[in-house]
């Protein structure tokens, strides 16, 4: 019986009821005045690159596992993308993959037919090359090509075709040139003068901003048509496209990209545990844990469109055989992932009961109250904690007969004032998860001693991890943190001080709308930060 009778009593006494419905109706105020900062130049992340190739040429092409590495800034790859360039090695990789893609596309009759609609009359047929590159170039660069740009690409193609004696071989050079171009690898969104005053993103730029935010991929033909018609520059036209896009399956990609980024789920690929201590560890565990988290979010945000804070409190979850064994519950399906309801007696619910949090925020040989507490504060509540001073030993004492449990060891650790200042903010919270070992499996005892997971978090008491999930869900910073993080992801940059009022306005809207994240995606797109910019420096 994993959960204590006291914990179950508290649960059954009604402490876990959703709080949103108990609050009085909330209405946000008027949109604050807003002055946009300068635009940023974002490089496609790896997943955006892959999705772009998938959407342009069809799925199934062989792509390298790594291109130029993504880097996180302010906790997000989406922000890091605007602060990074391409290394010499990266240039080589992008060049190499561009030619690989071109060859795969042009040697596959079906893929080739999708982009080559003319019949070349010679290896250097300029008219056919122009027709192909003009149509394809608009999709690859996400905007029409100028005559000058097209002339250069046609010249490359015909020269290569003449030299090699084959139109397709020549076209492969033109296609590779498109794919190596900064106009493909970067999102060049510089803005234009808004006739109504100030600067705004152009229709073509809005198409890219929308598609990479909502789909983590490039615009489709309908979106490019809307860009060309100017519809994306009007409220009504933009609303219509957003609503269409949110109904599209590709929104799942966008949701996965955002939460994978925010929650650091990519790190699960490198999950490492001591196999002598954690028998459940396998190469499948990390990816399975990520899939559980993302499927749950998909259900909450897109399928059910409900209060996203249930992400921390719901017992409904999607698991496979691997995770079912780890969580010690029946597997709902024989293959893949299925929906199940975790038993209350298991003491596990929500994201904070999942391996994607519990195993990732732990050491290879043990739990980590510090990592778990720090993650709650920094990732879920957007609080900034100072880094430890250089040279300071912050390690928690080893277990021994006098200090058999983590709580005992943390108590000693916090006696050191040089540690207590920061660790007091993390470790007592992390102790709430001590019933879950370093890989996320329930344990009744630690070194043969009972575990006491109770504590308080910013003044709110909790009995165990079950209750702690509710405390975090109800924390005044959680929903605004998710809102701010989504806004930063959409903009690809950190927020300037002058934008904080707008960020709060979006968060207020999220509150008003019952914490439905699907609504927030739309609200951010329709907001001024997404649509306007200052003059590029």
């Amino acid at each position: 019986m994993p959960r204590s009778p006291l914990a179950l009593f508290v649960l059954l006494a009604g402490c876990d009821t959703p709080t949103a419905s108990e609050e009085p109706p909330f209405l946000r105020g008027a949109q604050p005045d807003y002055s946009a900062p300068a635009p940023v130049l974002r490089r496609l992340t790896y997943s955006q690159y892959v999705h772009s190739i998938d959407d342009l040429f069809g799925t199934g092409l062989v792509l390298p596992d790594e291109l130029e590495p993504d880097t996180r800034a302010a906790g997000l790859y989406a922000v890091g993308a605007s602060l990074t360039s391409i290394s010499a090695l990266g240039v080589d990789r992008y060049e190499s993959v561009a030619y690989t893609i071109a060859e795969q596309v042009l040697t596959d009759p079906t893929r080739r037919a999708a982009i080559v609609g003319c019949v070349p009359v010679s290896p250097a047929d300029a008219d056919c090359a122009r027709e192909v590159l003009n149509a394809l170039g608009e999709r690859v660069w996400r905007r029409p090509l100028s005559d000058g740009e097209l002339d250069v690409l046609v010249s490359v193609t015909t020269t290569a075709g003449m030299t090699l004696g084959d139109f397709d071989l020549g076209l492969s050079y033109g296609l590779a040139a498109l794919l190596q171009s900064p106009y493909f690898l970067f999102r060049v969104e510089l803005g234009e003068v808004d006739p109504a005053g100030g600067h705004r993103y152009s229709g073509w730029e809005m198409a890219s901003r929308l598609s990479y935010f909502l789909w983590d991929g490039p615009p489709d033909d309908a979106l490019l048509l809307a860009a060309e018609s100017g519809a994306l520059l009007t409220d009504a036209g933009l609303e219509a496209e957003v609503d269409r896009m949110l109904q599209d399956e590709r929104t799942r990609r966008g949701l996965r990209a955002f939460f994978g980024d925010m929650l650091h789920l990519d790190e699960l690929d490198a999950l490492t545990k001591d196999p002598s201590l954690f028998v459940n560890m396998s190469s499948e565990l990390g990816p399975a844990a990520r899939e559980q988290t993302l499927q749950d979010l998909d259900a909450i945000v897109l399928e059910d469109d409900v209060d996203f804070r249930t992400f921390l409190t719901s017992t409904d979850t999607h698991i496979d055989r691997t995770l079912a064994a780890l969580y010690d519950v029946p597997a709902p399906v024989r293959e893949g992932f299925g929906l199940t309801t975790l038993p209350i007696s298991g003491g596990r619910r929500g994201f904070l009961g999942q391996a994607s949090f519990l195993a990732l925020q732990a050491h290879a040989t043990s739990t980590s109250v510090t990592l778990r507490g720090l993650y709650l504060r920094e990732v879920l509540l957007c609080q900034e904690l100072p880094s430890p001073p250089a040279g300071l030993n912050t390690s928690i004492p080893e277990a021994n007969a006098e200090r058999p449990t983590m709580r005992d060891r943390v108590a000693q650790h916090l006696e050191d004032p040089s540690c207590a200042g920061c660790h007091q903010l993390m470790d007592p919270i992390g102790l709430g998860f001590e019933h879950f070992d370093g890989v996320g499996r329930w344990r009744d005892t630690e070194n043969g001693h009972p575990i006491d997971p109770a504590g308080s978090f910013d003044g709110d008491e909790f009995v165990d991890a079950w209750g702690l999930g509710q405390v975090v869900a109800d924390h005044g910073s959680f929903a605004p943190c998710v809102s701010d993080t989504l806004l930063r992801s959409a903009l690809g940059r950190t927020l300037a001080d002058e934008e904080l009022e707008l960020a709060e306005w979006h968060a207020d809207g999220l509150h008003q709308e019952g914490y439905r994240l699907r609504w927030l995606f739309r609200d951010i797109v329709m907001g001024p930060a997404f649509r306007t910019t200052a003059v590029a420096p």
């Binding site: 028998v279 079912a324 064994a325 010690d328 597997a331």
Partner: protein
Amino acid sequence: MPLRSLARFIALASVTLIACAPEPQEAGTCTLTDMPEVLVLRTLSFALADANGVSEGFDLDGVTSTEDGETGCGVADYTSPDGAPGIDNAFSRLEPALNSTEAKISVIEGLVQSAIDSGELLLTVELGGVDDWQTDQCVAGQVGQALGIPMLGTDGLLLDGQTFDRDEDIGVVGLSAGSISSGVFVAGGLSLDLPVQILNASLVFPLRDGQLRVELGEDDVYRGVLAGRVSAAYVLAVAKTQAVDPAVAELLGVVLTANGDFDDEDGTWCGAVSVVLKFEAVGAYFYGD
């Protein structure tokens, strides 16, 4: 290959012995609940007596037999680790003979373990109505078999808490008089025909009159023993069908006959041998339960 044939045969025979004990009892008042605890055996090996005459197991016949005595066919019983006399485990006496052949005990146990790890031999014990794993006078139990490809942990053993299909082709068999005392579940009355697939051999073994003991450890691993008796004639018949090396089969016939300590179910005098198997089990689930 003689070694593999004999080893396979004995592995099969060892499984047969799981459920050999006195007559099944009538169903009691204890019933399996909707969500019984399911255990799946992750190891199964012979419990052999030590040099001091100490052996795990049960007093299957209720008497303490001595060598050349009038009971137990003159085959001496052992003493349990906690000092109880009358432990029947005549198979233990076959160890020297077997180990003199290619069919060493360790080889047989390796084949059994392989069958478990590959999912060919997933024996399950279901316990219903366990209110307290220290003391519970009313625990219903049944033995069956699971189907599925098991997940193994980093220790090479079946992972705890995984889900299998119930093997509907064999009838689950209720254990009788199940109860827990001092943290140990004990029951008897097991009788079933168990289909076993080991090394591509599909056979049905009549399991009769078994007894079982299980204890839950602090590491959430269940440990226990199974004891019963097996007909020597049946074992030898199986040996013939499995093309065991004739010389080894002859040796087997000699030692089985010499160490028979029970009458078999056909009434053949001293035609059966008692055996004790020890096992480890972990919690499991069935799809759809």
